[in-house]
Structure formats: structure tokens, C-alpha cells
């Protein structure tokens, strides 16, 4: 274990930049999770696997000679329908039941997806080459792939677009009403079943965008889903439901944490440190709340 980062100070800049750009992507996935958690009260363990599936859509476009950046448009459309189908088959049966049932059911979906992707796409680590080149900063000591800037930009565009959509459109209002009080919304003529399906679809579509961007920027692998779920869960519990700036900030914070952990602890502990951080955050919040004789709800 050598602390390279203390010997080369420029690596700090590198890690910070990488972390922020990565964190914006995490925030996009976490936004989807916060949306469906807030509206349907479901924790979706399969979130990360939806991301990876979205990534494979972009990767396949790349294989067939289409520029993978178009995956950003195609992937969410396909993933929306995948999400709606999952909702119709499984999620609508667990919506108003115990949360643990939904965790376990989506865990099942996660295992199913993981293995189906493993069969369909093989167990290799793949990436879709966008050919965007890299930008060199600070006398070539900091390398910044243009694809990372591209992915952060697209994530922000989608996030802002979705916020406006939720504020202005009829469906957006219906979703927000259902999140506030599903029963009252139902009485006032909102078709909550449809709203739930649309929410899950939108969540899956967001995962699709994020997945396509990840396949361009980083790598994808059928078994890489669970860390993305845990990351987005962590971001949501740190930021709280419905706190959008908080989601963005904690996303970037997590991205930076990971990059620094990567440099300081070594790559083999990267995923482990993410999961450990989740445990630490939950324990910290539990002790903070127990002073007030409360607990995490």
C-alpha cells in the first residue's frame, strides 16, 4: 500500500474532478430511487441491475455500428417499457405490503436479471467506445476523458428536464399528489395504479440513461449492479426523500469519497469501502437520533 496521492499532489485534483463527474451520475440513479421510494414506498434492490441493462442497450448499439451516445435516447425508451412490465408482473403485488417483502422480491428480480444478462451478454467486462478523446489539464498532469464531461452534462440535462416535467405536466402533478397521500389522490380521481406504473417506468428510464452513460464512460459487467443500488440507497438516506439539491451534493460527495478511497486504500477495497460507508452512515444516524429517543423510519 503506497500513498501515491500524497507524493503527487496533482492526483488530488484528478480524484476530485473524477469524483464529481462520477457523483453526478450516481445522483441521477439516486434520483430515480428517491422518486419511487417516495411515491410507492418501495426499495428497489434491482435498481443497479436496471442500470447495467440500460448500459448493455447502449453497448449493443455500439456493436452494431451506431454511435453509443444515441443510447442516451434509445435506452430510456426501452427501459421505460421494461420498468412498466416489471411493475405489472411483480411490483404491483408488493406495493402496499411490508417493506421487507418488496426488498426480498426485488432481490429476486435482481438475481434474475443478473443471470439473464450473464447468459445473454456474456461475463466479460465491456465498454462502448465513444471516441471522444481526452482533455489534458494543468500541464498534462490531469487527464479528463471528454466522455465523462459528456455524461455529467447529459445527466444534468435529464435531471433538470425531469424536475420541470414533474412540476408542470399533468402526470407529474398526479405523481406528486400520490406521493403526498395515495388515498386522497385516489378519491380525487387520480388513477394511482397508472401513476405507480409510470413512476416505476420513469425510474427505469432514468436508470437506462445512467446505464448508457456508464457504458460509455466506465465499464459494465452483469454482476456490477448491486453496488449501484447501495450507492443510490446511501445517497437517498443521506439527502432525504424529495431533497433534490441534497441528492446532487451527496452524490458528488460519494463520488469523491470513492475516488479517494481508490487512491488511498487501493482498488481492491473500493467496493468494500462503499458498503462499509453505508453501514457507518446508518450507524451514525442511528446514534444521532437515539439521543432524541427516536429511530430511523
Amino acid at each position: 500500500m503506497d500513498f501515491l496521492i500524497f507524493q503527487v499532489p496533482m492526483l488530488t485534483v484528478q480524484a476530485t474532478l473524477d469524483g464529481v463527474l462520477l457523483g453526478i451520475l450516481f445522483a441521477l440513479i439516486a434520483y430515480g430511487m428517491a422518486l419511487q421510494w417516495g411515491v410507492m414506498n418501495i426499495i428497489n434492490i434491482a435498481q443497479g441491475d436496471l442500470v447495467i441493462l440500460g448500459g448493455y442497450i447502449a453497448y449493443f448499439m455500439y456493436l452494431y455500428g451506431i454511435h453509443p451516445a444515441w443510447g442516451v435516447i434509445v435506452s430510456p425508451i426501452i427501459m421505460y417499457f421494461v420498468g412498466v412490465i416489471i411493475y405489472k408482473l411483480v411490483i404491483n403485488k408488493v406495493v402496499d405490503r411490508d417493506l421487507f417483502i418488496s426488498i426480498l422480491a426485488t432481490f429476486g428480480i435482481s438475481i434474475l436479471f443478473m443471470q439473464l444478462m450473464n447468459f445473454a451478454f456474456g461475463a466479460d467486462v465491456v465498454l462502448a467506445n465513444s471516441g471522444y478523446g481526452t482533455t489534458m489539464l494543468f500541464d498534462n498532469s490531469v487527464t479528463l476523458p471528454n466522455s465523462k464531461i459528456f455524461s455529467a452534462f447529459i445527466s444534468i440535462v435529464f435531471a433538470i428536464g425531469l424536475v420541470i416535467y414533474m412540476k408542470k405536466s399533468k402526470l407529474g402533478r398526479a405523481i406528486r399528489a400520490t406521493a403526498q397521500n395515495a388515498r386522497a389522490a385516489k378519491i380525487l380521481g387520480v388513477d394511482t395504479e397508472k401513476v405507480y406504473a409510470a413512476t416505476f417506468g420513469i425510474n427505469a428510464a432514468l436508470c437506462g440513461v445512467a446505464g448508457a452513460l456508464i457504458s460509455i464512460t466506465f465499464t459494465i459487467h452483469p454482476y456490477m449492479g448491486l453496488p449501484y443500488t447501495i450507492r443510490s440507497f446511501m445517497i437517498v438516506i443521506v439527502a432525504g426523500l424529495g431533497n433534490l439539491p441534497g441528492v446532487a451534493m451527496s452524490g458528488m460527495g460519494l463520488g469523491m469519497f470513492e475516488e479517494f478511497a481508490d487512491y488511498i486504500l487501493g482498488t481492491e477495497f473500493r467496493i468494500g469501502s462503499v458498503f462499509l460507508l453505508l453501514v457507518l452512515i446508518l450507524v451514525y444516524r442511528r446514534f444521532k437520533l437515539s439521543k432524541k429517543r427516536e429511530y430511523l423510519k
Binding site: L104, G272, F275, L278, L282, K297
Partner: protein, 350 residues
């Protein structure tokens, strides 16, 4: 204990002792069945009786596995050289060393996870509901990822546990591990049955039904939660230690901290059998194991797909499990008083 129960227990005990001789080809499968039942029984203490749905009991299982193997090797040979590769060829355990190491290893594998559970229990068990579930899920995966990066226990390339020594021409490996796991199973069952027949179970159930009220009634819920978790960890660690020797090879994410298989299996088995009952996990684990071994070969390569579908189907359509179903069908057997007229009226309504 009434007479019927006594006959049942004696029958099961006799069957358990005779099983490896009746089905000599299934010795390994029977040992795995014992391990699975132990895991389901201990999961049920948290998930079924206490209402704390944990994905983290795999932590103690994996910890026990690594500890048992490390102690068994480390007592006689340098551990680092063993795990560097080919250690099992350079250093050979004599039979005495093997059994001594195994005994000490199992003791450590049981005690240390229980202590770990006690230490982290106060922090982790303060979380409730799904936060607890996700936190323990994170704990299990983190343990797997971190142990996969530690050099001395084999890191990525795994850890070969000491091979079973040949005593003359006697080939007793299967029997040895079967009886190890069977004895631990019996001990686990006795211990869990004993604590279920005391006030302890009532406290656990009170925590499940309404923790705030239980606290208001003056029960120190945290104490009972930690003790419950320590009991589970004790037997999980033992099961892990035996499983390590049985498999003969420890890998951080595929064998020891195998959240995707064992970690889910134990939840699934307890739910399938019926959580919150003594016999539910036993029945669930047996049915699950028979189904798994009987049908896995038909799915060849599609096991995980089948597993995913199985989880979804059981969770959505069968959350009460086999015992819950039996209870609904034959409530008299479970000591519930049924009003005949009421039941008739209900049948007519249907």
C-alpha cells in the same frame, strides 16, 4: 413433552444417525442439509421471532469459516506461506494435528462471531425495519469485498482448507463432516427449542409486535436483541467452520460471504417453511434442499434464474410458508380453539 413428540424425536434422531449408512452416496448432500437447517433456524431467531429481517447472518457464517480454517492451519504451520499457493502440498497435517486443529478452530469459529455480534449489536440493532435489512446487507457484502483483499487469508485466489487425513486405509471424510454437522444441528435445535420455551421467546415476540410498547413495559429490548443475535452468530459460526472443511476451499465472495447464495437461501428457507415457528425452518430447509438438488440439474446453468423466480413466487404468493398454510388448514393441531359453527358459516360464505 408428550409421548407422540418423544417418538417423533427419537425417530428423527435415529434416522439422522443412520442416514449416512442408508444413503452412502448422499453423505455430502446430507451434511449440507444439516448446515442449511442450522442457518435457517438461526435466521428465524431474528427474522421470524424478533421481526428483524437480517441479511447479515452470512457475516458470522463467513467469519466462522475463515477463522476455523485459519486456526487449523495457523496452529501448526505458517499461515502466510500456506495461502500463498500450494500450501496444502508442502505442509501435511497428521491426523492428530487435523482433529486438534479442527476442534480448536471450531471453538474459535463459534466464540469469535458471537463476540463480534455482541460488539456490533448495539450499533446495528438500533436500526429498524428496512434500514436494518439494508445495513446488514451492506455489512455482509462489505465483509466479502474486504476479505477478498486481505493477503494472509488468500485474498482473491482463495484459501484451501486442510485436506482430511487418511488414517490407514479408512476413508471417513464424509462420515466425519456429516456427524460434525449433525451434532451441531442437534445442539442448535436443542438450544433454540430451549430458549423458545422460556420468557426469552415472549420478549422477542414482543419486540416483533411492538418494540416501543415492549420498552414501555420495562423490557430492556436492546439486551435481548443482542443476546438473540449472539446466539445466532454462535451457531452460524460453527456451521461456517464445518462448511469450510466440507467444501475444502474458501473463496471470499463465492463460498464464505456468499450473500447471493447462502445469504438469500437462509431467508428463503425460513420464509418457505413458515417464519416464527420452531419447525418451519427445518421443514423449509429440507423442502428447499430437496427441490434444489432434485431440480437444479434440470435447469443446468439456469439455476440462478430459477432461484430468482423462486424468490419472487415464494415472497409474493406464499409469504406465510408451509407452517402458516398448515395452520390455516388444521388450526386444531396448533392448539387454536375453533368454533364449528363459525367455521361452517365461513365455508358457506365462500
Amino acid at each position: 413433552m408428550n409421548k407422540n413428540n418423544l417418538i417423533l424425536y427419537i425417530f428423527i434422531l435415529t434416522f439422522g444417525i443412520a442416514a449416512p449408512f442408508i444413503f452412502p452416496a448422499f453423505k455430502v448432500q446430507l451434511s449440507i442439509l444439516c448446515i442449511l437447517i442450522i442457518l435457517a433456524l438461526t435466521w428465524n431467531v431474528q427474522g421470524g421471532e424478533m421481526g428483524y429481517n437480517t441479511f447479515g447472518n452470512i457475516l458470522f457464517y463467513g467469519l466462522g469459516m475463515y477463522l476455523c480454517a485459519s486456526v487449523q492451519v495457523g496452529m501448526f504451520f505458517p499461515l502466510a506461506e500456506w495461502t500463498e499457493g500450494g500450501g496444502e502440498k508442502t505442509f501435511v497435517h497428521t491426523p492428530t494435528q487435523f482433529f486438534q486443529g479442527m476442534a480448536v478452530g471450531l471453538a474459535v469459529a463459534a466464540v469469535v462471531p458471537a463476540i463480534v455480534a455482541g460488539l456490533i449489536g448495539y450499533s446495528i440493532l438500533g436500526l429498524r425495519g428496512h434500514y436494518f435489512a439494508i445495513c446488514t446487507l451492506g455489512l455482509g457484502v462489505a465483509a466479502g469485498e474486504i476479505s477478498g483483499g486481505i493477503e494472509i487469508i488468500g485474498a482473491g485466489q482463495g484459501f484451501t482448507t486442510p485436506p482430511f487425513p487418511n488414517i490407514g486405509s479408512l476413508e471417513a471424510r464424509g462420515e466425519f463432516f456429516y456427524f460434525c454437522s449433525f451434532i451441531v444441528l442437534v445442539l442448535t435445535f436443542i438450544a433454540i427449542k430451549a430458549i423458545y420455551s422460556t420468557r426469552f421467546k415472549l420478549v422477542l415476540n414482543a419486540i416483533r409486535d411492538n418494540e416501543d410498547k415492549a420498552e414501555a413495559m420495562g423490557i430492556q429490548t436492546m439486551k435481548y436483541k443482542i443476546i438473540g443475535w449472539m446466539i445466532s452468530a454462535f451457531f452460524c459460526g460453527l456451521a461456517g467452520g464445518i462448511m469450510g472443511g466440507l467444501v475444502g476451499y474458501i473463496d471470499s465472495t463465492d463460498v464464505a460471504f456468499d450473500g447471493r447464495e447462502m445469504g438469500v437461501f437462509m431467508v428463503l428457507m425460513a420464509i418457505l417453511g413458515g417464519k416464527g415457528t420452531l419447525w418451519g425452518p427445518v421443514i423449509g430447509a429440507t423442502v428447499f434442499h430437496i427441490f434444489k438438488e432434485g431440480f437444479w440439474t434440470f435447469f443446468l446453468g439456469w439455476q440462478y434464474v430459477a432461484l430468482g423466480v423462486l424468490i419472487i413466487v415464494i415472497v409474493i404468493y406464499f409469504p406465510e410458508g408451509i407452517m402458516g398454510w398448515l395452520r390455516e388448514k388444521y388450526p386444531e393441531r396448533f392448539g387454536e380453539v375453533v368454533d364449528e359453527a363459525d367455521r361452517k358459516a365461513q365455508v358457506e360464505l365462500k
